[in-house]
Amino acid sequence: MDNNKTEYNSVQYIVVNLGDEQYGIDIKYVDNIVRLQKITRVPKAQNFFNGVINLRGEIIPVMSVRKRFGLEADIFTDKTRIIVIKPEQQEAIGILVDVVKEVVTLKEDQIEKVYADGNDEKSKFITAVGKSHDNLISLMNINGVLDFQTL
């Protein structure tokens, strides 16, 4: 009974690095992880969009989470990956990350909610922090990250 309960309440996250920080992305949103490929710049787009890529015949916009989060610009290495995210009922979008590290399973008691500060637009990006092997992982709120309305 207890076992079932814990399994039911655990969530898998893909852990990525952006600079020195670790971020977690709920695996249910992740459609694909691809290597860096040529990104076609789109003129007049929002500054945090690097452009678009061709993913098996589909045009996918690619966003720099670093720019979105207000971090320093991306440095492209051979570890840079594009994580293709497919939120429910929405179009796919790629986000650039420095390194994809691992997949962790976090139980409910390892996740701590971070309460949003209504004045800070960026606070809607991270809604919780996970603890795994003494590491702190900021868990991305995908819907917040993809909410471009308030900009």
Partner: protein
Amino acid sequence: MDVSQYLEIFIDETKEHLQTLSEQLMILEQEPKNEESINEIFRAAHSLKGMAGTMGFKRMQHLTHMMENAFSEVRSGNLNVTEDLVDILFQCLDALEAYLDLIMDSADEGTEDNEAIITRLNNFMSGGSNAPAPVAKAEEPKKEEKPEGGSPNTKNIKLADFEIHAINEALEKGLNVYTFTVYVDENCILKAARAFLVFKAIEELGEIIKSNPSVQDIEDEKFDLSFDLFIISGESIDKVKAAIENVSEIKGTESNKISEKISNGVITEEKPKQEEVKETVPATTSNVPEKPKTAQAPANKTSGKPVVNRTVRVDIEKLDVLMNLVSELIIAKNGLVSVSATEGNGENSQSFNEQIEYLERVTTNLHESVMKVRMMPIETVTQKFPKMIRDLSKKLEKQMKLTITGEDTELDRTVIDEIGDPLQHLLRNSADHGLESSELRAERGKDPVGSIVLNAYQDGNNVVIEVGDDGNGIDVEKVRDKALEKGNITPEQAETMTDKEVIDLLFKPSFSTAKKVTDVSGRGVGLDVVKTKIESLGGDIEVKTELGEGSTFIIRLPLTLAIIQALMVEVGNEKYAISLGSIQTIEDVEKTEIKYVHQKEVINLRGSVIPIIRLHEVLDIEKADEEADTLTVVIIKKGDRQAGLLIDRLIGQQEIVIKSLGKYIANSSKLISGATILGDGEVALIIDANTLV
């Protein structure tokens, strides 16, 4: 009976029948004696009635029934087709369309009885035909409302004169006439449904000429446990009896054969009625020559609708999938082309190239075929216009005629669905604002009948639709004054604006020049809506006008929305595609030929001054190297305006598949209309040249 699954079919078929009715009525108005049209109308009305009845749309059924009656009168020569009659019938059509609209929205026909129209129709028939006609009307076999208080005994049922005639007629032809009393099981819950099944069973074998109570009452379950029927059939009495008793919950039948003619003194008056029955025969036999039985006439009439094209209805989504697959194939082919271009020279390269050319031919043909499947003739939209113009002509009290040419020009289904309203608007516009009144036209020495022309034709990768009239044309000065008055432009602007710019004001929101607001047009929503709609379809609209001579609106639409021919260009080190449709020429221009006018760069190309747009600046691309002495300029056009796009290098012409950039990326300037995947897998953006001119 659950008929909801047939609703879609019902709606489709009703549309078709209404269209037939409308077309044939137009013909009939011109040639009141056209028998073919009369028959066609009668059949369409009859089928409509049957369908509406089956679906349980009583009001619709009633109305079509009245129309059918009117036409049976016309057919039998009792009633002449006059303008008034056609008017009433068109009103009926409008009412039927209203029903259909309601049904499409809510699967219900609503509560409008259209009594006024029915009464008019009735009055018309009683006024315009011989004395017995109106009585006979109410007695038509399927639906008489005669107060019939008699006992269920069939012998006592009062037959209307024409029914007697039908019986006599049948007997003369050697057919059998039976009377049946059908008893329904007392535990039967859905008596009407059982009765319906009985009717159906009989209709397969013969014709029901009379029922007591009336069909309407039986359908409404207004009968006890039995009902009486008069049946004409070529089959034996046992067979009919078996067919009826075969229906479950039918307890039994009492049957009788009428073998002697029923005689009375009213025959002479009823002559025309006899003809009606006779006329059914040739009509039916021509449809089913191998079954020349009179009794089968009604059953066959239902299926005797005009021969439709041999088609299969295909869900548009399936076509979209097919289209996407073709797109993929073209991308793959482009990939092979680019591989062969980079890795030429090999021994096998010649045969490799041949195969690629073959593949190219196949994919292009496949693309064309799939496109053609999605194509529909513009006729599907324009066929309702003649009636609309006719209505407008009455309403506006102007004489006008509509000429439609090129209605077989084909357009993508998605465009067809959207283009109806804008065209309708333009036609109304022509009728209301464009054409002068007949008196004025006569004064000006024009034909008092105004002419409106709708012409469609294909022009390269575009389809052009022109809507023109020979009316007054657009009075540029009046528009200018109006714009000033409304504050759309300042007096200074008014001074400097060209006629063309003034006319373009017509496409601005809330700009209507109609002096008085009519309910035809001139409500302030107008040409701007038309323009927005057409632009959303990737097309554009312009207007040519000559004061006193008339004006023509010219709509230009892309043939296809998904795959286009494009010119690939390089700016900086980025690749862009420009639709070939908007490119006029490509010019090599010496650097020194660029001149400045009002601090703007222009070139003088064969006498016309064309502004230069540096794509680097528009697209925020850093200019890397020193500018060469000879520049490549792509001249683009939109209507009669031109602009020259300065680019770095031409790559070539290519067939490209248009893909959307998605919703995330803000594209407020609409400069980039989409993206495409090149042969090497790279993404190139498509520049919408229309936004630059």
